[in-house]
Amino acid sequence: MTTLDTPRLNARPVPNPAKSLITKLNMGTGVVVGAIFAAATYWSLYSLLSTYTDKVRDPLTSVNDNKILLATMFMWSIGFLVGIGAFIGPWRWLIGKDLSDEEILYMAGDGQGWKRYFKYCTDHKVVGMQYLVGVMVMLGVGGTMAMMIRTDLAHPGAKFLVQTVYNSLVGLHGITMIIAMIIVATGPFGNFIMPIMIGAYDMAFPRLNALSWWVLFTAIPVLCSSWILGGIPTGWTAYAPLSVQAGPGMNAFIATIIIFSVSTAVAGMNITTTVVAMRTKGMKWNRVPIFVIGSTISVALAIPAFPTFMASQIMAGLDRTFGTGFYETLQGGSGWLYANLFWIMGHPEVYVILLPGVAIIMEIVPVFVRKPLFSYGAAVAGMAGIAGLSVLVWAHHMYVAGWLPSMNGPFMVTTEMISIPTGLLFLVIIGTLWRGKPWMKLPMLSVFALIWNFLIGGITGVYLSDVPADNYLHGSMFVTAHFHYTLMGAALTGAIAGLVYWYPKMTGRMLHERAGYISFWFTQIGFNVLFFGMFIVGAEGQPRRVLDYAALYSHANLISTLGAYSVGIGMIILLWAVIHSWRHGKIAPMNPWGAKTLEWTVPYPVPLTNFDELPVVTSDPYNYGKGVSS
């Protein structure tokens, strides 16, 4: 474990930057080396394979093209990491040495100003900001694709997009948003805020922390390359055998998931270890802020889930490059194998996304209602119960797949059971609101939005978990509306609440309040219009992922599109508020909300090692309130 030792580092002189290779490396060198690795791989494999077959000269259709493209994408990622200096530390270990103290301090970004955001920086606050910007870019790109999809669906007749573009948009919107939503809370706030919340100097593994971000960063151009290579025709689920027969753009999807899974595993281990091992003195488990508990359960859940996703894509890649036939019935494989592997990841992943968002809301409510969090034990039990059950429900996505119909009943039971721990989370939130007088600032407003959205998502989820109802609703727009209510209406609302709440600590400024309110109402009203329209067309029988539809569904689709535009306007206003306030916002006091968690005890800018002396915790952070009542 390499962590910064505050007293030791404070005694060290500033290093001479000219002495170490580390000082010369940054994102630019990473891109150059990555491009060289990618080009060298492409041309060497092209030359090698064309020696043995003429197929490689066909326009990107043969298995050899898949081999070349996949290898090129992986080598880009490795080359970038070499170029930015990610392997300098491991290389030193390999030759029996280690980084000097000066180099460790340099890697932590000390005294480098804005340049540290473009380096392999181990400071958790820098990594948190890198994740924040990365998430905003991904949400922007994914949101733009959603606007294009909704524009096409505004009227029947598919006048705006052609099929290939529409199908690719559906898939790329899905996977971009899923990746963004997986990291939307645990990336920025799990890295920037969480170590301070538990009273730690740093993360447990600072170099792995930087690695998790930069590995993820390398996946972004890989995913974007899918457009140049013809897109993906499969939706984000990438079901086989459609993914095996798909064009070269599918390679980008496969490589993205494999790279992203590495990033997630690294981040998950790092956050889990940090929370388990580095809580400050006195921070017993029942005094840990609920956001930290939610994030830890979320990333711990991701640790077993994402390797399965990775395995599913490795096998898809092997089918495409070597014809292994894992998913080809005529070769002895099965598309059901893929569906199982995918959903074994896919349903826990829903809760990987959801839990941190709800945990943020549970963190916010006591602060703004000035009451203790109601039943901390129920909150922990609810999140742990959801995590435990979530690994046993994956096949409810496969009720109509024809795979083992006799298991539909057991999976229906486990899926319905998840309502019980989910209900506990509602109880904690409304129990904290009970007899409270909420301070109606922007983060608090999001609490009410989440309650409504999560409730609608939850109730409609009960229908979908029931086999006879799912026989009708599966694959329809109703499902799309349901999961957007859960992932966007609850998880993203929670994450935006977290952004507004922690913005003063992360930037030193208050978010533009009026713009925030305007954004909130545009987004939330638009969101409900958008997805209520989608519930209607789903109930009427419109399948999801279609670029055209019958006239019967036209009114509700138009309403949905208008709602989507309202969400788009709301998000643009929020983006403006975030960027504008970053430079011109009102200077934030150290603790603008009067909260009692540890991050509000440190100044802005947060010192490199967070605390001069580690704090001692003597109670939980929710000791608000007067007297005891019921």
Partner: protein, 264 residues
Amino acid sequence: MSDHTQEEQLSPTPGERATHFLTRSDVRRTTLLFVLWTSVFIILGNKFYPHFMPRIMSKEMASSEKIMIWFTYISAPIAGLVLSIATNAFLNMHRGDTPPEDGPAIRNNPVIVGMWTVGSLLFVLVAIVWGLLEVNAQSIDAAANASKAVTIDVTGSQWLWTFYYPAQNITTHVLNVPVDVPVTFDVTSTDVNHSFWPVQLGIKVDANDHIMTVAHTTPTVTGPIDVKCAELCGLNHAYMETTGNVMSPSDWNKWVEAESGKVS
């Protein structure tokens, strides 16, 4: 005043506590909001699905719609409780640049947590038992009707549905079925995964690559049906749809007679 009298004054009876609780203004307002929100969800369940879902043309479709309506009814009091407390808090908001005074320090209430958990469990048990009984009833129906069912081989291929009636030796791209006669669909695909969805019949099953899956239904009403693909299957997925009819016995016989003579 004796200690005994003081104790009596400080400790009201459970009945008095309940009376005091129920007459509190916030409790009365929350109760009113509870009735309001619960009614909204009951009306929603009662109107939304019957209004928007397609015509019910089979027992399976009737079952799907009934579940959605009744699950909304059952959810209504839970949604009503959550939203009434949230709405009451919203209406009780504090505005300004300084936080409000601290509220009552209610850290836990094991009785409420226990009641909530038991209530959730009952809700879940109703949903589970209802679902299992329905699944079981459909399985029993399918087994009992196997010998008298009309069998149709359904093949999905990019991007066309083909229906073969083995007993009648008919191949067509339009799905016709007789009313009040059990139908068994043997579904497969020649390429990628599709999902066979005769919408008004309320059933759906994936057409998997060279694997046969089965779905059963008993149409109960005559009329037109739409057949769609509910699984993204590539370029023209949106247009992989056809139509069909649930036919009266006489129409069915006429259609079979006319089609049997054709060379497919």
